[in-house]
């Protein structure tokens, strides 16, 4: 090669240039975000696999079993064998498992929870030992009593009949799936936005970005968009799993479910943005995020209804964004409620989303 001539030098100066449109930056950030997400195996696990495994585990553990056996133990006293015989042959109590054990052992095993009720035969009466705080204990006592009374020939004072109903919709798994969906939207929104931002700040990547002509609004918009795209896959996966694996029935309209999920994803993205608005270190941010999410994991009715908490605190629980999301999702998915009937929870989510976004943008630290 010869040395650069003057001509070559001038030629070099006229570089090839591409003209980019208004939205190129936005598109590039969005694509980069999605690529990064899907190249992170942990993200795939926590966002997609974990909730499915949780649903599967809980769905199996709390499946509607053929009337679950409650276990009764009869203390080895005179008459014990006769009672056991009566109970074993009584109709309609297949679900009652009977065992006869020496008194001391029977008492011990009841205390350890191996049996739900202990029957102690006395000379003129049978004593039930049970724990009113344990529902299965109460049930066992009443089953055993009914069976004994019936076997002894007593007739019910009021004639009654029963019909079995364990249609999809009323089971625990039906309650659980929308709750898990809500929880998933919360944690992936908080982690997906908050964690990513703090990491970028820690790597000085945010600072590097603002040293370019990147529009800051486009950056936030691209983050929100990546959340919505991920939300759609989370929604389809979770509900699809419920339908396929547990024959869950989605009663409500899909557009309504979709809109509420979008709102939930955005609300928690905004909350994630707020928690990450100033933190410089991942450790600080994950601490803050756990503090924010912990009350909602407990109170917002993911795994069990928040109606179990004292009535006085329920109004406050209903003000939590995850409670609102779970309530709206359950009402629409399980009961087929309309969007307008869910105005209250929707308003709660909008409130949290708007407030969080406002303060996040105000306090956000790019450097």
């Amino acid at each position: 090669m010869t040395g650069p001539s003057n001509e070559a030098k001038t030629e070099q100066r006229v570089r090839n240039v591409i003209i980019h449109g208004r939205w190129t930056g936005y598109r590039m950030i969005l694509m980069a975000r999605l690529k990064e997400l899907f190249r992170e195996p942990e993200v795939i696990f926590w966002i997609f696999m974990f909730p499915i495994l949780l649903a599967l585990g809980l769905g199996i553990a709390f499946r509607n079993k053929p009337p679950d056996a409650v276990r009764a133990v009869i203390a080895q006293q005179p008459g014990a064998e006769r009672i056991a015989e009566l109970l074993r042959h009584a109709t309609g109590v297949q679900s009652l498992k009977i065992e006869v054990q020496p008194s001391a052992q029977a008492a011990l095993n009841f205390r350890l929870g191996k049996f739900d009720v202990e029957l102690v035969p006395h000379a003129s009466t049978i004593e039930y030992v049970y724990d009113p705080a344990r529902p299965e204990s109460v049930l066992a006592r009443s089953l055993a009593d009914d069976a004994l009374q019936a076997a002894a020939g007593s007739k019910p004072a009021v004639p009654t009949t029963s019909r079995v109903n364990s249609e999809p919709g009323s089971r625990y798994i039906d309650f659980l799936i929308p709750g898990l969906l809500g929880m998933n939207l919360m944690s992936s929104g908080m982690w997906g936005i908050g964690f990513a931002l703090v990491e970028m700040r820690q790597r000085k990547l945010l600072k590097r970005y603002v040293a370019t002509p990147m529009r800051r609004g486009d950056f936030l918009l691209a983050l929100a968009s990546s959340r919505l795209i991920l939300m759609i896959s989370e929604l389809l996966l979770m509900l699809g799993f419920g339908v396929v694996a547990f024959h869950m029935k989605v009663v409500g309209s899909w557009p309504a479910i979709f809109l509420v999920s979008c709102l939930g994803a955005l609300t928690f993205a905004a909350l994630g943005l707020l928690t990450a608005s100033r933190a410089q270190k991942i450790e600080t941010a994950s601490g803050i995020m756990n503090v924010v999410m912990m009350p909602m994991w407990i109170f917002s009715g993911i795994f069990f209804s928040y109606e179990r908490f004292p009535a006085a605190v329920i109004p406050f629980i209903k003000l939590l964004p995850l409670t609102a999301l779970n309530d709206a999702l359950r009402a629409i998915i399980l009961e087929g409620s309309s969007l307008s009937s869910q105005a209250a929870p929707i308003a709660v989510m909008c409130f949290w989303g708007a407030i969080s976004f406002f303060f996040a943008v105000r306090f956000f630290r790019w450097t």
Binding site: K9, Q12, R15, V17, M28, T212
Partner: protein, 311 residues
Amino acid sequence: MHDQVVVQCKDLRKTYEGKVEAVRGLDLTLYAGQCYGLLGPNGAGKTTTIEILEGLLQATSGTVEILGRNWREHPAELRESIGVSLQETRLSEKLSVRETLELFGGFYHNARPVEDVLEELALTEKADAWVGKLSGGQKQRLAIATALVGNPRMLFLDEPTTGLDPQSRRQVWEIVRRFQSDGGTVLLTTHYMDEAERLCDYISIVDHGKVIAAGTPAELISGVGGHHRVEFALAEAPTVSFEYWMALPGVAAVQCEDGVTALTVEEPHATIPALLALIEQNGWRLSQLTTRQSSLEDVFVNLTGRHLRED
């Protein structure tokens, strides 16, 4: 060529949280096509200065004008026309080199084709490798590539070669020279005097937030009083005052450190025979004698009494 002012900054001051004075009245003027170096030890205020010029920090007082514009009124235009490489940016590890450049190029209205930049920075082979898999030198070239992909007229590089091996450093210097020869203007900070000496047309030596000397490398070095250093040590070191050596012909300055006496001289061929004669005359014995070119390090030591890199 050196007539158009590209960066003009006057009486720049930056005080952090009302206490720490990082920059204390700093003036800079960069002309088109120049490679301008801010040389100084760690903590001298170089990074604060360059980040103010890049529009990433707000100065407490003073004025900054780049390409005839200021950050308050024309931030968008300025962002389009400068390229920046920060002291320490860890780019996303799970994106490939090409994807990273496409991302950064996408921020600019006028961007250079990614393939051109890849080729120019010798990254074509690594185009599809994830950033996390690159070596230190490759990462640094990519960092500079993200600054060049926006087709800037002015390039800011904060410590572009810190922590790199000698070969990677030379590659970075090549990139800077090429950008400059294409008509670009460069401002870089460094605490390596060899880098400043070889790469920069003009240098400001910064210490404690102020410019303590400025000029071309040659001007700065001749400012020490001589281009050469004669360093010697005596076997049984007698106590001799500085004036004793100053009396030798052509000696501009005398320094003494760790038993080694250093004379700054203009003409070693005049000074050395006189020095040897003087030693012989006194019956002393030399244990060491070297001569070398004066460097910017000597300039810095002369000005501050400290070395640039106090490790």
